[in-house]
Amino acid sequence: MAAAPTEMDREQIFSMAEKEMEYRVEMFNKLTHTCFQKCVESKYKDSELNMGENSCIDRCVAKYWQVTNLVGVLLGNNRPM
């Protein structure tokens, strides 16, 4: 069983967790806006996403994720994402 974290560890855990979450929120927002740009035509003829847009979105998210991992490796960031 792991020892209880010290005061310093605890502050570091909070601080890293906060940055990690900010990072993920920002990634999600950039991903959303980028895939909106790439997949939704800006004429807005109706308010539903059609089938073409939906599959474009799924592939856009998948590719964005792969680019994130690829760039992470190049930056020397070894953990997934």
């Binding site: 605890r10 993920r24 991903l31 959303t32 806006h33 997949c39 998210v61």
Partner: protein
């Protein structure tokens, strides 16, 4: 934002878990306000180009409404796919 991303929450005691949950709540409030601002900016930029009057005409209003509704649907879909990828549940093409 996905609360499940904080897998190591369990190694913390109860007071710390509460503090972490409060932090997550704060980030979610800030995030939803930002999303609101970004959505307004995008739909305004895409839909409003005529400045001869100071009120939105019917066509602009329809465009903004559709833009916002499409964005929210897309955002939900992206959230689902994103969660699947976070869980390593992505399937092949």
């Amino acid at each position: 934002m996905d609360k499940s991303m904080m897998g190591d929450l369990n190694s913390l005691n109860q007071a710390d878990q509460q503090r972490m949950a409060a932090m997550i709540d704060q980030l979610q409030i800030r995030d939803s306000l930002r999303m609101y601002n970004n959505l307004v900016e995008r739909c305004f930029t895409d839909c409003v180009d005529n400045f001869k009057r100071k009120t939105l005409d019917k066509q602009e209003e329809t465009c903004v409404t559709r833009c916002a509704e499409k964005f929210m649907k897309l955002s939900m879909r992206v959230g689902l796919r994103f969660a699947e990828l976070n869980q390593g549940a992505a399937t092949q093409d």
